[in-house]
Symmetry: C2
Subunit: 231 residues, 2 copies
């Protein structure tokens, strides 16, 4: 995700891995899991009636599977669930401010998952998948809020995508031109970090007085969203 | 981007507009411009050799055009630039915490731009496009850092995508179940905002002592990244 970059999508220090990440416990697989665990919104790429769509949608991920709503793309996807998709989760960690414009870039962590989503029809798996999806963004809410009725569950379309085929790209650290002639220019260079944080709870105006937010929400206020991988 | 949602990609209060946003100055077009102006990373969906890819990459947008690196997707895209793409920019503004799991969702602003990117070959347009792209994420850096040489410029592949065909989706505000029987459950409901902020500058370890960061970077520290639309 570098700036002016001639024929290379990422700058030199990027660690790019376009390979199958089948093995749990491998460093690559650990990075995949960490990137998925740190987010809750993905960009789902689907081809619908010959048109390519990139749709933001919430997801949940467990050890083997990424879950998302079948309705996320469109009814067309539901009509043809056997098409291949790409799901990308990206965390932007900062701007890389180099001596030259050419070497400017972004520090980030990104995971792509490829495959053909499978409609989840088994009621127990659907329950577990929806719980996973809800807890990914709002941990504690599945048990706190009213859980789905049988009717709601039946009306919900859930897709499961295997984590077997995925790739991870990560860039961290300082600019790459510290050892080039540009270092003699006397220009400042470094990184401006970008941080995503939860703010302060805003009660629904329709809420009757006297109802307090539960501890799991209170404690989440003013904390960092997601986690950077340990250096 | 709601949670368990039966056959609908967005919850009831979403304002979904899948239409051409040709007219500048229209409310829709103003929203598109605001969403693009508030970000600098997009998700580019391309079909390469029959495989669908969703790639995060930096972009720049002016009144008519979105610019991104031709290398962002792959050399394959450069070999066949005449394919249609979808570029999506998403800002996640908060979690919508409803009384029922079924009504949980996300407050967000998202823009999709559709079309066939055009390789930028004119040197003046390429210069202006790269400046636009750099200034989108790092305003002030084009003039501060070393600008591209003729060789760097020639080595950089830049694509231009018209903003003529686009759609905008926005969700704001409280949960939707404040006037349903679930409101009698006595559960807290509301929104947990999510905010993206710039942190504190981190100097390149290779930087000689005595070089101060320029004012446009100093002033950006500890400020909000992007802007929410005025309510």
């Amino acid at each position: 995700m570098s700036h002016p970059a001639p024929g290379r999508p990422l700058s030199r220090t990027d660690r790019s891995r376009h390979r199958r990440l089948r093995e749990q416990g491998s460093p690559d697989r650990d990075e995949l899991d960490a990137i998925l665990a740190a987010g809750f919104v993905c960009h789902l790429g689907v081809s619908v009636d010959g048109s390519l769509l990139v749709v933001p949608t919430v997801y949940g991920a467990d050890d083997t599977t990424l879950y998302f709503h079948g309705s996320a793309a469109s009814r067309s996807l539901l009509a043809a669930p056997a098409s291949s998709v790409c799901v990308t989760v990206t965390h932007v960690d900062g701007l890389v401010l180099a001596r030259s414009v050419f070497e400017h870039g972004v520090n980030y962590r990104s995971a792509m998952v490829f495959g053909t989503p499978r409609p989840v029809t088994d009621p127990d798996e659907k329950w577990a998948g929806l719980r996973c999806l809800t807890e990914q963004s709002a941990p504690g809410q599945w048990d706190y809020a009213r859980q789905p009725t049988r009717k709601e569950l039946a009306a919900t379309s859930l897709l499961a995508l295997s984590l077997d085929e995925a790739s991870v790209k990560i860039r961290t650290g300082a600019p790459d031109d510290g050892d080039t002639p540009d270092a003699e220019l006397g220009l400042w260079a470094g990184v401006l970090p970008l941080q995503t944080r939860w703010g302060t709870l805003e009660a629904d105006p329709a809420l009757p007085p006297g109802i307090q937010a539960p501890p799991h929400l209170i404690e989440r206020q003013d904390t960092a969203q997601g986690l950077r991988p340990s250096p």
